[in-house]
């Protein structure tokens, strides 16, 4: 909550406390706060409908989830308190988590996040250069994988990477003599994670891409003309000096969404291979691990602890992006 006095306020600034009466100072501060709240009563009315639903369906469950992470809970009996045990086990005993899930998640996020993000920006910028009739169709093409998300995507890709000679990629490689025998793409642990990365980048032109596209189109055209007068000569300079600074809010949005997308994506490995856990835990990500413990073994307390760790990781990463793209003090 901000304690800064607004510059344009009709309210008198808090008077210096006479005779060190802290009590009257506190009440003065409180009455100032109340008058501020009363002044903005309409704003509260605006946010009320969403906020009520938000508190009921997100905030309360999240807090409950946080509390559950300190318990043993199997969905039938009443949860029993375990303190930090779940977290201790996670970081000292859970070999699958330490050896497979964590490295997998980091590798996955490191590739999919930045590459998908840069890719989305470049594509959105290129599409924004096209005349409007063509623009819709190209935007549709890029967004198509996200539109059809669950439905066709895994079907198409499993067919591509099928592990015998009838799979498209195998038969292609065999035909050109690049390999002697078919590769078991979806079972071999050397391939699975890489394939998941490729598929995720392919399908990551989603909400972030749309936001960036709308953001680029939102930039005032007059700025480019002004820029040209000021000596901007190439399109690249235009992007760097005008487009990106003007659409920082959308860039931030897309960055946060790409973190959320990468760290929260799961289930890809198990849909591709048809089993959770994936063979040798090769494609096991955080969410798969949560699903494994939460809905297969019904250790919900432990699953909650994993998701709290995931939340903290997401939070730290988004802080980093906030530093890069977030509003500065003077804005």
């Amino acid at each position: 909550m901000s304690t800064r006095t607004p510059i344009l306020s009709d309210h008198p600034s808090p008077a210096p406390a006479g005779l060190g009466q802290t009590k009257s100072r506190l009440s003065q501060k409180l009455s100032y706060l109340f008058s501020e709240i009363w002044k903005y009563r309409l704003s509260y009315l605006f946010i009320l409908p969403f906020l009520v639903l938000f508190v009921i369906f997100i905030l309360i469950p999240v807090v409950a989830g946080f509390l559950l992470s300190f318990t043993y809970f199997n969905a039938i009996e009443f949860p029993t308190w375990r303190g930090w045990m779940n977290y201790q086990n996670l970081f000292s005993q859970d070999i699958v988590f330490l050896q497979h899930v964590l490295p997998n998640s980091f590798k996955f996020a490191l590739f999919v996040g930045p590459i998908g993000y840069i890719f989305a920006f470049i594509l959105a910028w290129l599409i924004a250069q096209l005349p409007s009739t063509l623009r819709t169709w190209y935007a549709l093409a890029m967004y198509a994988p996200s539109l059809s998300a669950g439905v066709a995507m895994t079907v198409v890709w499993t067919v591509m990477f099928t592990g015998d000679r009838s799979g498209y990629i195998n038969s292609f490689l065999l035909k050109w003599g690049l390999i002697d025998k078919p590769l078991y793409f979806l079972i071999d642990k050397d391939y699975l994670l890489n394939i998941m990365i490729v598929i995720s980048i392919w399908s990551s032109m989603g909400i972030g891409f749309l936001a960036i596209l709308a953001g680029i189109l939102n930039v005032d055209k007059q700025l480019y003309e002004a820029g040209r007068i000021d000596g901007i000569s190439s399109r690249l300079q235009e992007v760097w000096y005008i487009t990106i600074p003007m659409m920082k809010p959308q860039m931030l949005f897309a960055a946060i969404m790409s973190i959320v997308h990468t760290l929260k994506s799961g289930g890809l490995g198990s849909t591709l291979t048809g089993s959770n856990p994936t063979p040798n835990y090769a494609g096991q990500l955080m969410i798969d691990h949560i699903g494994d413990f939460g809905f297969i073994r019904f250790e919900l307390g432990y699953a909650s602890a994993i998701s709290i760790v995931l939340l903290i990781m997401c939070f730290l990463l988004s802080k980093l992006f906030w530093k890069l793209f977030g509003p500065k003090e003077d804005e």
């Binding site: 501020e36 938000f54 969905a75 290129l126 409007s132 059809s148 079907v155 699903g291």
Partner: protein, 304 residues
Amino acid sequence: MQEIPLMTTKRTWAGRWQDFIFAVRQVDRTQIGIAIGLTPLAIFMLLPLFYIFNHAFKPLHELFLFPPTFVVREPTIQNFSELLALTESTVVPVARYIFNSIVVTFLATLGMVIFGAMCAYPLAKHKFPGSKLVFGLVLTSLLFATEAIAIPRFVVVQSLGIMNTYLGHVLPMIAMPVGVFLLKQFMDQVPNELIEAAKIDGAPEFFIFLRIVIPIVSPAMATITILAFQSAWGNAETSTLFMQDDAMKTLPFYMGTLTSNLANSVARQGAAAAGALIMFIPSLLVFLVSQRKVITTMAHSGIK
């Protein structure tokens, strides 16, 4: 400024063709380069779309060809009749699922867009006490995996007594923080001078919101509509968790039951393919309409 009437009046195919020719003539050299360069990628990205359309019309023997074919050879509508026939004998016909889906999706999308915009406006433009806290909460909740809060959510819905009602579908979906975040980011860009000028002219807050802010951020509104529609239309979670009556469940849930044993059952492959197309077409339409709106409103929004 004179609006272009072409955008609103009904156009004939000849008129569209003329528009197309006009658009092609407008293209300069860089644009041609970009368009040509992007085309292979666009075709590659469109593959799943193409696949869904072809798959739904394949006769049974083509569905199981190996290696599978992308293009249908003998198109048939047998899959669709199979989908209808499947539910004829059961208590709940597929039409009921479709009806539920339409009601739920309509209400949820409307709620997400309207409440989201209403919440985003003060967050972006009024520095009221607590606004940072609210925005921080919205942002943080974005990062929380929904899988992890499924159980507490179930308890909440149960204790509210909205199990097996449309409210049980709609309300949890409306609380979607993504929409608030995106709209707030766009509303940040609306010039403060514009709002202050309107205030000086005596416009009430609601008028400013409805007539000034919303039209300026209409690209964001269109984007959020696409997103909200898609997440509501494809949502099977509320059906699985909060609805015990079969008659209250939605189409994605039914599709899930069709495809869940697909790996080891041959029987309903055709129906599943047809269902996938039925699921997909509304998303496609909403995307096309909204995306077109992004482009036309961009050209004529109030501040340009």
